[in-house]
């Protein structure tokens, strides 16, 4: 602890010395950069000072601030697919300048990027970061024609999933539970609808997504592997607009508009799947559907104060009659207040509520039934200060405090009218962090970003404290005592210092970047199924379960080619070293188990790989190729003879191609191709019979010792804008025709071993077989219609 405080002190001191040295007579130019058409903040828009050859970028709220010696400057405001705006300004005193950029002509924006060279990927210190805007996402041919954020990011290097039908995604050999998914700052505990076929993010409501795979800045924390930061649209502050779509699986509708022009706007978007309605005549009372609602309201009080309120509510429902079924969903709410203390100090205060729950109901009447649900609820407060010190230093200082309430099981069983309440006690915890982060331009060649995050986690009462005694490694731990804690006292506290650093060094037309990230993770997603599912359980670190710790090192080379930087290329290598990754014992029971902690054990993890990426941003043909060569392994006492074994999401080769070709002004063709090494599974060598039951047996006692065949798939899409050339339509609309898995490859999800169906007479032998299971084994065509008016 003491050494921790000391470190923070030294760190602060060094930053203040920087600020004193540079505190000369200078003036500040600041303001917001927005889209002229709808008033949306343009995240990451750049401000370039021609005379100085330097500049800055707008933060996630579209705010920029740059401090310069007084003088006259020519300033370029730039953003991808927007016309650059050039202003000449005589800067004598601090000046506020809000800028609205104009989209390049509607027909052209599909093909042409800006005329100016944008080389952020080379010149930024940021590495291991993937950004996708919604326009790109919309072009990617999608399963059943439904555009999807999470499916799209899986086409980028280092990102994958274990297959169709698995929730979530894996980044650089990390597990699904090691990703922090944020929707307008609110953590989303399960990001999937329908077992991962779709994500909870309604594309109509998404403005921008950013995936941070490495070099994670100090303002983010709490997960080992990645941060997916999804920002919602703010709502058109200029005019009312209605958009929507009718697809094969669901329909979408979004309404947005000003509440008070240029001051306040709102946004409401909803979707609902309707396969259940179409299938109704065939399925009696059985239904399967999902819906979600995403909404946002914002209000500009004055130049210095803005308020944003956003929320998400979604649910999947899976019922096989009126009383029996399974459902799950997320609810999030975020209230944010942006406040400008002065033209160089930007602040944001966020209050966040998020919850995820699932429930099961069985039984045909009230005398015989079984109801069970499980929930996680969190309340977060996040203050954030962005201080634009000078042209060379940009500081982030802030904190985060999250109060967790875990409700592992609320369950009631009724047998012949006799009621047993088998609910488990709630668990509580408080996670907090403070951080400081500075981006410093040392010279034209070198930019540094360094930061420190100090995090702590308190597992607290009221609740039960269990003590276990380890038996043999990999086996269930034995309970030795259980004590009740009544007050809000701390049961177990953990602290961690998480240093972060990135470096960019320009070499010729390219740049070399390196980064180091240490992260701590205090809550764990426990799953004992082959694929991540909605019933995986979030559980806190306790006196028995320690936090996970991860170190990541990354090194990359970035280079652009062609006029207007039309080709972006990069190669990045990474190495991740994780401690205390949560695994489970043989025969672990993760449902309604008071002694779950006795079934959890931890091991070490490591992942390494190289990611190659080539992107073409301009011309009639654009798209990208991304390839990852990687490895992801675990080592846990008592598993696989204590040797390293591949994780279920270990993928040696991962190749993704995406291309889009503008055929005519009104039609474009797109395609994506995926090739992934088959997932490893555990196969038996032998079988034996106990009491008439035939049981598989692996003589060598290995884990994940067999690879299922590789999966590959080609999807195509055609986007067509109806109407005649030169004729303005009242509605902006388009059709998308797509075929998923066009050559109908039966991509294996798993190979499983089981006995033949049916019963055999006691004493007779059963047949045991291997089966290959594919979730989608045929081409899936789809059509959708989308509109905006």
């Amino acid at each position: 602890m003491d050494s921790g405080r000391q470190l923070i002190f030294i760190f602060l001191l060094s930053i203040f010395s920087v600020s004193i040295l540079s505190a000369q007579e200078k003036v500040t130019l600041s303001g917001y950069i927005k889209n002229e058409a709808d008033g949306e903040a343009l995240i990451g828009a750049t401000v370039f000072i021609e005379e100085l050859g330097t500049g800055t970028a707008a933060n996630i709220y579209g705010f920029y601030s740059i401090t310069l010696p007084s003088g006259t400057y020519t300033i370029q405001y730039r953003y991808v697919s927007f016309s650059t705006q050039v202003k000449t300004i005589e800067l004598i005193e601090n000046q506020r300048l809000d800028v609205e950029l104009v989209t390049e002509s509607k027909q052209l924006d599909e093909i042409v990027v800006t005329s100016e060279a944008l080389d952020a990927n080379v010149s930024d210190v940021e590495m291991s970061v993937e950004k996708l805007d919604i326009k790109t996402i919309e072009k990617i041919p999608a399963f059943l024609g439904e555009v999807d954020v999470l499916k799209s990011i899986q086409l980028l290097p280092g990102v994958s999933s274990v297959g169709e039908g698995s929730s979530g995604f894996n980044v650089r050999g990390g597990s699904v539970g090691q990703n922090l998914v944020l929707l307008d700052d609110a953590p989303v505990y399960n990001s999937s609808h329908l077992f991962g076929f779709f994500s909870v993010f309604n594309p109509d409501a998404v403005k921008d997504i950013k995936l941070i795979k490495g070099g994670i800045p100090a303002n983010y924390g709490g997960r080992l592997s990645s941060i997916l930061d999804v920002r919602m649209k703010e709502g058109n502050s200029k005019e009312r607009s209605i958009s929507g779509g009718i697809g094969t699986v669901f329909s979408r509708l979004a309404v947005q508009g000003p509440l008070k022009k240029d001051k306040s706007s709102f946004f409401v978007a909803g979707r609902r799947s309707y396969i259940d309605i179409l299938a109704k005549p065939f399925t009696n009372d059985a239904t399967l559907f999902f819906y979600d609602l995403t909404t946002k309201v914002n209000y500009d009080f004055n130049d210095n104060n803005k308020l944003y309120l956003s929320g998400y509510f979604g649910r999947d429902v899976f019922r096989f009659d009126e009383r029996q079924g399974f459902d799950w969903g997320n609810v999030t709410g975020t209230l944010r207040w942006n406040h400008l203390f002065n033209d160089r100090l930007f602040s944001n205060f966020a209050f966040i509520v998020s919850s995820f729950d699932y429930g099961f109901s069985f039984g045909e009447n009230d005398l015989d039934k079984f109801d069970w649900n499980s929930r996680i609820v969190t309340y977060t407060f996040k203050p954030y200060f962005n201080y634009f010190l000078n042209t060379n230093n940009e500081l982030l200082i802030g904190g985060e405090a999250t109060y967790y309430k875990f409700r592992p099981a609320e369950a009631v069983g009724v047998s012949d009218g006799q009621v047993s309440d088998i609910s488990l006690d709630n668990k509580f915890a408080l996670e907090s962090a403070v951080y400081i982060d500075n981006t410093q331009k040392l010279s034209d060649k070198i930019t540094l970003r360094y930061g420190l995050r100090f995090s702590s986690f308190q597992y607290m009462g009221p609740g039960n404290v269990y003590e276990f005694q380890a038996t043999s490694p990999g086996e269930r731990k034995e309970l030795i005592s259980a004590n009740k804690v009544n007050g809000r006292e701390s049961i177990k506290t953990y602290y961690n210092l998480e240093p972060r650093a990135s470096l960019r060094y320009k070499v010729g037309n390219g740049s070399v970047k390196a980064s180091y990230t240490r992260t701590a993770q205090y809550i764990h997603l426990v799953s004992n199924t082959a694929a991540p599912t909605p019933i995986d359980l979030w559980t806190p670190s306790t006196n028995n379960v320690e936090p996970q710790l991860g170190d990541q090192y990354a090194l990359g080379y970035f280079r652009n080619f062609g006029g207007g930087n039309s080709f972006e290329t990069s190669i990045e290598g990474y190495y991740r070293d994780n401690k205390k990754q949560v695994e489970y014992v043989r025969g672990a029971d993760i449902f309604i188990n008071e002694y779950l902690e006795g079934d959890l054990i931890s091991g070490d993890g490591r992942a390494y790989g190289v990611e190659f990426s080539i992107k073409k941003n301009a011309g009639n043909l654009n798209g990208w190729i991304s390839y990852t060569l990687g490895r992801s392994e675990l080592k846990t006492d008592g598993i696989n003879n204590n040797e390293w074994y591949p994780t279920r999401y270990d993928q040696t080769h991962n190749l993704k191609l995406f291309g889009e070709y503008q055929l005519t002004k009104r039609t474009s063709l797109s395609a994506n191709f995926t090739y992934i090494t088959g997932a490893p599974i555990t196969a038996p060598t032998s079988r034996f019979t106990i009491q008439g039951v035939t049981i598989p047996y692996d003589y060598f006692n290995q884990r994940n010792n067999l690879r299922i065949p590789a999966t590959h798939r080609l999807d195509i899409g055609l986007k067509w804008l109806p109407g005649k050339p030169g004729k303005e339509r009242r509605v902006d609309d388009y059709f998308v025709f797509s075929v998923y898995n066009i050559y109908g490859n039966k991509n294996p999800f798993s190979i499983f071993f089981s006995q033949d169906q049916g019963r055999v007479v006691m004493g007779d032998q059963v047949n045991t077989l291997a089966n290959q299971f594919s979730i989608i084994g045929a081409p899936v065509p789809a059509i959708s219609y989308n509109f905006v008016f």
């Binding site: 047998s415 309604i592 008071e594 169906q757 019963r759």
Partner: protein, 299 residues
């Protein structure tokens, strides 16, 4: 629990499944001890067999030439004699010593080719079955068709830690599909469930009505069917062993595969007194008290 999820998930999704042939690694065979004996007045069998290749569906090779005996804490010795095909049998008829008292400890000792294998079990209490019921139910959905559903009514003892294996026989035939495997920890699913001293919870009571051969719907009883239910007391270790067996064998395929747990070897309580790398031993020893009740479904 698994049975519930499987019924629920299985139907909705179209899946695509093919039997495939793959080459599995060749492995030497291990010794399998199948030693589940009870206090019923009928011949008790302990089988010794060898593991075989996973795709080999021949009758397991019996291991002859072993000495198999069980001793209890009261000084009785039960000698199991080689009968044929590795089946070692002890017959309680016409002998003085019996397997019967609750709380007694039992030791299994096997001598084979100069090696000694041991295991222990206790004989635990078992509740009586108060009644068997058949209830006629309307069709609930595709999986719960119209018909008579059987259930047994019994109350778990007060005090935590009783574990049971509930076996059902339909028309005299033991329901031995992996999905029929029905176990209870007190009156619920597991130790952490805290359902103690009450009637077994509904999913456990109802599990004596089996699934059909395709495992896609419950198959209700029809007039004239008989149902016989036995509760076997088992040790906690045996409960965990059977729980692992459920995980490893209840594989219905299809969309359930998403919820499937990875393959893993089940545990064993057989101890090799001189362990070595070549002679592996697996299997389980358990001694049960048994209570039973039968009923025929009449008009």
């Amino acid at each position: 629990m698994k049975r519930l999820i499987i019924i629920l998930i299985g139907f909705v999704f179209y899946s695509c499944e093919d039997e495939i042939s793959i080459d599995l690694k060749d492995a030497p065979s291990a010794l399998v001890v199948d030693a589940w004996i009870n206090d019923k007045p009928e011949p008790q069998v302990i089988s010794l067999t060898a593991t075989q290749g996973y795709f080999n569906s021949e009758e397991p090779r019996g291991i002859a030439g072993a000495t198999v005996e069980v001793k209890d804490s009261k000084g009785n010795t039960f000698e199991f004699r080689d009968n044929l095909n590795g089946k070692y049998t002890w017959d309680p008829t016409n002998v003085a010593e019996k397997i019967e008292s609750e709380g007694t400890l039992y030791q299994l000792r096997i001598e084979l080719n100069g090696k000694v294998y041991t295991a222990s079990s206790s004989l635990n209490r078992v509740p009586i079955i108060d009644s068997l019921k058949f209830t006629f139910k309307e069709e609930q959905n595709v999986f719960q068709p119209e018909g008579y559903y059987g259930e047994f009514v019994a109350t778990d003892f007060r005090g935590q830690g009783d574990t049971y294996w509930i076996k059902a026989y339909k028309n005299g035939v033991f329901l031995n599909n992996p999905f029929d495997l029905n176990i209870a920890y007190d009156a619920g699913f597991n130790a952490g469930g805290n359902i103690d001293g009450v009637v077994f919870i509904q999913p456990i009571q109802d599990a004596v009505t089996p699934l059909n051969d395709d495992l896609d719907a419950i198959e209700p009883y029809i007039i004239g069917d008989s149902l016989y239910v036995e509760i076997h007391s088992i040790t906690n270790e045996a409960f965990y062993f059977l729980q692992e067996v459920q995980i490893q064998t209840q594989r219905d395929g299809g969309f359930d595969e998403i919820f499937a747990e990875p393959l893993e070897n089940v545990s064993t309580n057989i101890v090799d007194q001189t362990p070595d790398q070549i002679n592996k031993v697996i299997g389980f020893f358990n001694v049960s008290s048994v209570s039973g009740r039968g009923r025929k479904l009449m008009e």
